[in-house]
Amino acid sequence: MLFLFESTHAVIKAERICDKNGITCKIVPVPRSISSQCGMGIEVSEKQEKIVVNILLKKKIIYNIYNNYKK
């Protein structure tokens, strides 16, 4: 599951939150199939998607979720 955010600052925030909550996340560049612009996203396992969504909602961090994307 790939989470994309509105800004790099949001990515940094989200990564910190995941880390604090013991969620394994992987910082990855935004796939070229999604955007040609330079950006970073967070990859988490499908199992952890709900937990991450809940935390992000609580912290009011806006995100988009992508699944089955081409790298």
Binding site: K26, I27, P29
Partner: protein
Amino acid sequence: MNSKIIDARGQLCPKPIILTKKAINDPNIPNEFFLLIDNETSKENVERFLKDNGISHQTYQKENYFQISVSKTGKKVNSSSEAYCSISTTKKLTADHIIAITNDKMGSGSNDLGKILIQGFMNTIKEVSPLPQKIIFYNNGVKLTLKDSPVIDSLKELEKLGVKIQICGTCADYYEVKDKIGCGKISNMYDIIDSLTKATHIISP
């Protein structure tokens, strides 16, 4: 469109060459046909096969495959398909370049941004072909090789793919993290200079 398409995507050598040879020798296939291939090795082998047989062709890079347009000469082709695959079996997955990681951040400026960038970098190395021969970590860079590093899984995966991971022993000792290293091999300045000297080029993000 009467141009016939031969789809060899998902096929490994010698299959794409066998299909190419068949198409050339089959009078039912038009003189101009397209060949679709999705791996670099097969593409190169087919190109060599066509060139050696004097068949003109042109390769186009599509989004995730190659399209080779072939123009038949009318002559039948007899060369063995397998002969063109011998090189591919010995071809290395890794190239001769080296990545030298000297910090646990990428670039200079914001530390927070630098940390995110280096993670994005390390997690993406395996997606880009060819892989580096080695990744060398020194000074602050060694911190990325620790068991609790955010990129440890990617490094382990790279190791499995044949990429050697060299870690500066002096640095690991200085930061007192020798017993926390989670991948690769501790090496010394001789090994590091030897690797850097022999590399075709060095990438330092």
